[in-house]
């Protein structure tokens, strides 16, 4: 029995070598997504209120601001082939297909997609946030992502809405460094097609690749720029932060509820209709 097993193994190995002898391209390889969080072309450096190193930016409305914390969730990733076929990447498994990009943690700026079928890809789609059907803090189903998102230094659980925070931005604005704190997440209730209340802060992003990503013997890197200039100066809204309770025309610097959040959501994630890129763009594909 032992011998026959050994023979089987050897023949399999031989067969394996033979089958590859004509063609060295593996059936699948990695694709790395690299996130560069910027204000326009400057990579963001975080800092506290009086930091001299933090990247300071000026909004279209003329308000200087900088961030001390910058996090967002990316999930529902799909790569699209030339013929339009979508290759979904664990889109229904948050443990294997979702990540928290955290500017304070270098390692989170690279997200490796494994086992992507060898092919040429022309487009990438992903979600900013978590799609509604998975956005219920289901720890039993996705314990790893739940733990990563809920870590003390991450705080991406939106407890009262029993969903995830999609973005969490803390920082300072105006020359006197008043605090800003912008959190987004969904409050939508009901089943798809018949939502009963709430807002959907999930945004599906579609980006064309400037050059094809060739997966095969190579494992390409797709460089994604997230330009947080859009937060206050986006395609949808030019926002002035105001510290009053009159929020009809502007936005208070503390958006922790659905009330004002959607302005920021539409600015950075697009309005889901005419704007499907939001703050994101592809700067390069390295094959």
């Amino acid at each position: 029995m032992k011998n026959s097993r050994r023979y089987l193994l050897i023949s399999l190995i031989v067969l394996g070598f033979m089958s590859c002898s004509d063609d060295d391209v593996p059936v699948a390889n990695n694709v790395t997504l690299e996130f560069n969080n910027t204000f326009e072309d400057n990579t963001i450096v975080l800092g506290d209120a009086t930091s001299s190193e933090a990247t300071v930016h000026t909004s279209d409305a003329g308000q200087v601001h900088h961030f001390s914390e910058l996090k967002y969730v990316i999930s529902n990733i799909r790569l699209i082939k030339e013929d339009g076929t979508e290759i979904p990447y664990n889109v229904n498994d948050l443990d294997k297909g979702a990540t928290v990009v955290d500017q304070s943690k270098e390692a989170t700026l690279q997200y490796v997609l494994s086992d992507i079928p060898s092919d040429e890809y022309v487009q990438i789609k992903f979600g900013l946030g978590v799609k509604t059907e998975l956005n219920n803090l289901d720890q039993a189903s996705f314990p790893d992502f739940y733990a990563v998102a809920g870590a003390n230094d991450t705080q991406m659980h939106w407890e009262w809405g029993t969903g995830y925070r999609f973005t969490k931005i803390e920082g300072f604005y105006d020359t006197d460094n008043k605090e800003l704190s912008i959190h987004t997440g969904s409050t939508i209730e009901g089943e798809e097609g018949s939502y009963t209340q709430g807002v959907d802060a999930y945004r599906d992003i579609t980006l064309d690749l400037p050059t094809n990503a060739i997966v095969g013997s190579g494992s390409p890197k797709i460089k994604i720029k997230a330009d947080f200039d859009y937060l206050l100066s986006g395609n949808s809204y030019t926002i002035t932060l105001v510290s009053t309770t009159d929020i009809t025309n502007n936005a208070t610097p503390s958006a922790h509820t659905a009330t004002e959040m959607m302005k920021f959501v539409d600015n950075i994630g697009g309005n889901g209709d005419t704007d499907i890129t939001g703050m994101f763009s592809i700067t390069a594909v390295e094959n």
Binding site: Q139, G150, H157, G161, Q197, G198, T252, T257, A258, T259
Partner: protein, 340 residues
């Protein structure tokens, strides 16, 4: 159908074990418990029909409701804030969680939940089964997680037995925890106040003051506090002092609609005698304080309720009317419900 499968599976299980004397199996018998639905109460929330209370589901839910293991440091349970003698609320202005952490809002009473279409001050939840997870994970409340809770109870013989009796097997799942707590809460129905007995003609009568208070109520309160629940379950901004916490936006926190800014669900008035302080974050220590405020004039707001807007931002009441009204409100006290 599910029940049939469960029964068949169980019979098979029994058959397969018939030679094994070590297993003590009892027949799976967990009868539905019909809710005692008071006449004239509104429709049940449709979620109730998908989670009908059962004898052991209720028993399990009650055990969980009173279990400190639901909190990270095993110091508080649901019943710590939802105290029966206060109609399952408490006397703090804002909820107090583990390590004395202060929450955002006043603890709402748990009563007649089966008939509510919205839960919480802002109506963020539409099904009671979706609610128990919120306090379990909220930092200012129990600050735990559902797997942490399951880890603490899964080896407990009493729980193993109750999960078995309630659901037909011993598996402890998040949904079973949420469902059983909701089942227990569905049974908390208050409908035996003096008001109810007067209405039902059970030999009680209003005093002169109560009767006059009822007349004031029907003139000045009933447009919002309507139905036998004493709430029309709408969301309104009635110009109460504002909670300055940046997490607070009232109903618009959920809907994102500026018209709902600082609007809150009209609270039931049942058992109001036991649920002081009043308001979404306990702004008023007594009913008298609250009525004084309403009578003197409330805060202006763009979306202030039209009933107030059209009446000079107030509901004017004489001192006598206030006293009579309070007498009437006390007829909504249900001593049986609060266990006295």
């Amino acid at each position: 159908m599910k029940n049939l499968i469960r029964t068949v599976a169980f019979v098979l299980l029994l058959a397969s074990c018939s030679n094994d004397d070590n297993l003590e199996l009892v027949a799976f018998d967990n009868p539905e418990v019909s809710l005692n639905i008071p006449s004239d109460f509104p429709e049940l929330n449709s979620a109730v029909y998908n989670n009908l209370p059962t004898q052991y589901g209720i028993e399990l839910g009650e055990k969980l409701f009173f279990d400190n293991k639901l909190s990270a440091d095993n110091t508080i349970s649901c019943s710590t804030c939802h105290i029966q003698k206060n109609a399952f609320s408490d006397h703090n202005k804002k909820a107090i969680g583990i390590e004395n952490r202060i929450g955002l809002r006043n603890v709402p009473p748990i009563q007649n939940m089966a008939f509510m279409q919205f839960y919480n001050w802002d109506g963020s939840k539409l099904k009671l089964e979706d609610q128990p997870l919120v306090p379990i994970i909220t930092h200012e409340e129990m600050d735990s997680s559902i797997l942490e809770v399951i880890g603490k109870i899964e080896d407990d013989e009493d729980y193993i037995e109750l999960f078995y009796k309630a659901f037909g097997d011993e598996e402890i799942t998040p949904d079973r925890i949420y469902n059983s707590i909701a089942q227990y809460e569905y049974t908390l129905i208050s409908s035996n106040s003096k008001y109810d007995k007067v209405k039902r003609g059970e030999g009680e009568t209003f005093t002169e003051e109560e009767a006059q208070g009822y007349a004031v109520f029907k003139e000045k309160c009933i447009s919002c506090h309507s139905t036998e629940l004493f709430t029309d379950q709408s969301f309104r901004n009635i110009g109460f002092p504002l909670n300055s916490n940046s997490e607070e936006a009232g109903r618009s926190r959920v809907t994102g609609d500026i018209k709902d800014y600082m609007s809150f669900r009209v609270p039931s008035l049942r058992n109001i005698e036991y649920t002081a302080p009043y308001g979404s974050f306990g702004q008023f220590a007594t009913l008298k304080d609250l009525l004084d405020y309403l009578s003197n004039g409330v805060l202006e707001a763009d979306n202030l309720d039209p009933i107030l807007k059209d009446n000079d931002n107030r509901i004017s009441l004489t001192d006598e009317e206030k006293n009579n009204l309070i007498s009437f409100l006390k007829t909504l006290s249900d001593k049986e419900f609060i266990g006295q």
